[in-house]
Symmetry: none
Subunit: 353 residues, 2 copies
């Protein structure tokens, strides 16, 4: 028996709006400590990780851990039927193949319940390494969203460069170029407007704006966003959900094209002479973990079972592999249905447990 009650029902609505564009189907993992989800986007380029801790709920009961496969689009549709001030209750029987959403409006005179069929989603549980990052930027979530949206009207990718003084976003497209600089700004009286840079090493990385724009669907969940970057790790874009958890997005950086390589050279310690090969053919011996997993990490996974791999595929795109050493053959998620041409660097498999 699983049952939890969330007074601020709009929170769950926003969480689903923040995931449904990126992920079609995913397992919600419920345990006594809370409610979590990890899933790769349908083209296996980005990864979403959600955590809602049990303490954040008004009432939380989970007799035994269960994994509920849901179509996020359908779940979002149902949650859209809840008013923003409604109290949302989610119920599921242990053996059942259904989940029930119950919405109570504030005056308790309207009670709705929606039942949704669960799905059997054969997804590996993705463990995510909690690495140390060379640069961490905290800035207003709305501002980051605005920048990504604006730049995507000029170009397809953004080069994010962090220095002690601030963070610069730049792009280039057919109609011209754009450069946006956000200066470090630790305004004390308005913490939600602060731009905070924690930099150990300057970083310059390029990302596909298409995915960043998907990530910013989480903007209504938090005032601030945290962008954590290291040269050879996927960027982490985190929205902390007050008192209850977070939603995090991971995206592998793109390799610069020749003409942009110079600008990125200092940030990338990668050798430009590295031979190209296909991701699948890449021998394990060539793997070059750049960042050791943090031993202090809160990760549930064992670090010695994780390797982060960066290789180039035939299109000179980056492929990051984070592999369980006991499972050397990457397993494609069977939930994958889309026929996207894989132009993006792929986080091929994040099966870490």
């Amino acid at each position: 028996m699983l049952e939890f009650r969330l007074v601020q029902g709009s929170l769950l609505k926003k969480v689903l709006e923040a995931m449904k564009d990126l992920v079609n189907d995913a397992n919600f993992d419920c345990s006594s400590t809370g409610f979590s989800l990890q899933a790769m986007d349908s083209s296996h380029v980005a990864l979403v990780s959600l955590l809602l801790r049990s303490e954040g709920f008004e009432h939380y009961r989970c007799d035994r851990s269960i994994s509920m496969g849901m179509n996020l689009n359908n779940m979002a549709k149902m949650l859209r039927c809840a008013g923003n001030d409604d109290i949302v209750t989610l119920k599921a029987d242990d053996g059942g193949d259904c989940v029930t959403f119950m919405f109570e409006n504030p005056s308790q005179d309207k009670i709705a319940d929606f039942e949704m069929k669960l799905m059997d989603i054969d997804s590996e549980h993705l463990g995510i390494p909690d690495a140390e990052y060379q640069s961490i930027v905290r800035m207003p979530a709305a501002e980051f969203a605005r920048i990504c949206k604006d730049l995507s009207s000029i170009g397809d990718t953004v080069l994010i460069s962090v220095s002690k003084e601030g963070v610069q976003f730049s792009t280039r497209g057919d109609i011209g170029t754009a450069n946006i600089v956000c200066r470090r700004n630790t305004t004390v009286d308005k913490p939600e407007e602060a731009v905070i840079i924690e930099m150990e090493e300057p970083v310059s990385l390029t990302f596909a704006l298409r995915y960043l724009n998907s990530f910013t669907k989480a903007t209504p969940l938090a005032n601030q966003v945290t962008i954590s970057m290291s040269s050879d790790l996927p960027v982490v874009v985190e929205y902390r959900i007050e008192d209850i958890g977070y939603i995090r997005y991971y995206l592998a950086p793109k390799i610069e094209e020749e003409d942009e390589a110079a600008a990125a050279a200092e940030a990338f310690s990668r050798t430009e002479t590295e031979p190209k090969h296909t991701a699948k053919a890449k021998p394990k011996a060539d793997l070059k973990p750049k960042v050791e997993p943090n031993p202090e990490s809160e990760m549930k996974i064992k670090e010695d079972k994780v390797s982060i791999t960066e290789i180039k595929d035939e299109d000179n795109k980056t492929v990051l592999e984070i592999n369980d050493e006991e499972k050397n053959s990457p397993v494609e998620s069977k939930a994958e249905e889309e026929t996207n041409t894989p132009k993006e660097p792929k986080i091929e498999t994040m099966e870490l447990e």
Copy 2:
């Protein structure tokens, strides 16, 4: 070297939104006195004229007059990246082929610069006669916009009839007819709601609503709109931009169809028996200027060099030609790329200087 700074950056955003639907590419003419643009719409039916005087800018520097060809859609895209409260600076080097837009947010912690390639647009400089008009209507810009939008759901054209008491907008379509009358109303306490009629002679003219609806994109720039009409001149729809200039739209009236001819008969002294012919094939000798240029006119151009010609093309549509007598062959703008079927009356060439 050209550089100007506009504290109210949203103004430039609105100006571009007000032009981009009508004009693809145009030259911005910058001189020490200000910033101006004249361009015909892509089907050569309507004309836009923009003026932003140097006094309206916080800082204005233009060492020598230059003409910068821009794609208005791309320029609008870039300006959309400016916040509404941003300070906008435009810069261009004299010899350069680029223009730079710089946006500073009010707290100065976010600075963006956008660079856009200039185009070589081979457009004649359009001089526009400043005629006297038989009827001038001033009314709230939002009300005019609403009327044009509403009527365009009924019909394609609007008959605007001005009398001392007010102005009437009427249309007819498959589903019925519509009539909107705005009474003269010089409310003293709310000047922005006034409807003011300056009438020397009653006027009834028909215009394509499609174009008027494009013109009303300028509504956010001004509280009031001025509509100046004479029987055989293009209507002028003017939005004054406070403290800095104006945007004006010109559109030739349509000839009434048979069933509507009666209503317009008094306004048009045209003979219904005039034979039909194609605009281009029409020999010069057949042109019948209907209205002599007003000798009292404030026009800057010499009247004897101007002829206003009204002819019908094969579709029984009006074509107004305002020709310099020294240039008998109408010159198509080379910026013209669209392949619109020229169903609308054309202001063929407005080269009057």
